[in-house]
Symmetry: C2
Subunit: 215 residues, 2 copies
């Protein structure tokens, strides 16, 4: 299970309605390009819309054998049969989510070593740690840098995915810190050609991490 | 169960952070004044804050033997052990919520006869129907009037709670339509003295509906 999860966390692509209003089309392009996981992040929409979009992402990720996560919203994750939920410091506490949904993969979003250790102890299955670099989509996020990322990877036992300002030009350096993969918004959703941007990133990742175990 | 639910739906008070930023204090004042149900409605807050406030409301409603509902958010309802969830046309479909949380009481928010019939058929336990009058807190809501409300009450078999612009001066007329109770935001949360405003409404309700079955 753990090595399966690690493989599927190589390239986690997060939706962004402002950058790509047609979320479902952008997700399909990212999956064609090699995204191994998709995270639905849709902060200012109605629950109904989240569920409608989430169902489409569920269908697509099944077709591409990718994992499907929902940011923040356990209700949307459960309603759309997601593989997991991503929970940050302002979301539902991880321990409660674990109790309510024992079968979901829980990713903890952490912005410091302290938060990383806490998320692991509360039962997170993996961490999204950042921001590695200043990020164009999360201007107010704390920046931990490559050193901060390395410390987290060293300290926790669960897989760590790097997030925040990662793109084709810095991905290799990020992957050398020991993370199992990278999560991106702008690098893919801000690209004119989502498919090509994902393909390029996936190549860099596979070069850096090796081609992984056969499926 | 049904007559218990009907009794507890006499006076449903909905939170409003803009009108009363100290939600927990306002809820306690409303409960002291005789609110039989509280609905947590907290649209622009983090999930973490919703859960923190929800836990306090859970504790208070237990003390006052009132029901505790959450607007829209099934995840917050589950995380705070709410009695139920209130779902409108932009929220999670009632049938999905019923499947995910078979033990929750589900209230459907409906704004027309058509929506009322659909919510009943999808499995709602009761309806919040409105807006009866133009409402100061929901300016864009559709107004169904006393006649629209009467039609809904006649058509569905589940209990109906009236909502929208209801206050001490029009509550009696509303209660004559056959609803089991009223739901209010401004009439209570917009009052200087939440306790007195609730007390006054509760008196009007008990006069109109009788004193109900002994507990």
């Amino acid at each position: 299970m753990l090595s399966f999860l690690k493989e599927k966390l190589r390239l986690l692509v997060i939706t962004d309605k402002k950058l790509k209003p047609n979320i479902v089309k952008a997700v399909e392009d990212a999956l064609r390009g090699g995204a191994t996981s998709i995270q639905l992040r849709l902060k200012e929409s109605s629950t109904k819309e989240m569920i409608e979009v989430g169902r489409e992402i569920r269908r697509l990720t099944r077709n591409y054998e990718a994992l499907y996560f929902v940011d923040d919203r356990l209700d949307v994750a459960l309603a759309t049969d997601a593989d997991g939920v991503q929970l940050g410091p302002d979301d539902m506490p991880i321990a409660i989510a674990r109790e309510l949904a024992p079968n979901l993969i829980i990713g903890g979003s952490v912005y410091s070593l302290e938060e990383a250790v806490r998320a692991e102890s509360e039962g997170a299955d993996f961490l999204g740690a950042g921001s590695v670099f200043p990020s164009p989509t999360k201007i107010d996020a704390r920046v931990i840098g490559l050193n901060g990322l390395r410390e987290i990877v060293k300290k926790v036992k669960i897989p760590v995915v790097a997030i925040g300002g990662i793109n084709a030009s810095n991905a290799e350096a990020v992957l050398k810190t020991g993370v199992v993969g990278i999560a991106v918004i702008s690098a893919v959703m801000g690209a004119e050609d989502v498919y090509r941007a994902t393909l390029e990133l996936r190549k860099i990742i596979d070069m850096a991490l090796g081609h992984g175990e056969p499926p």
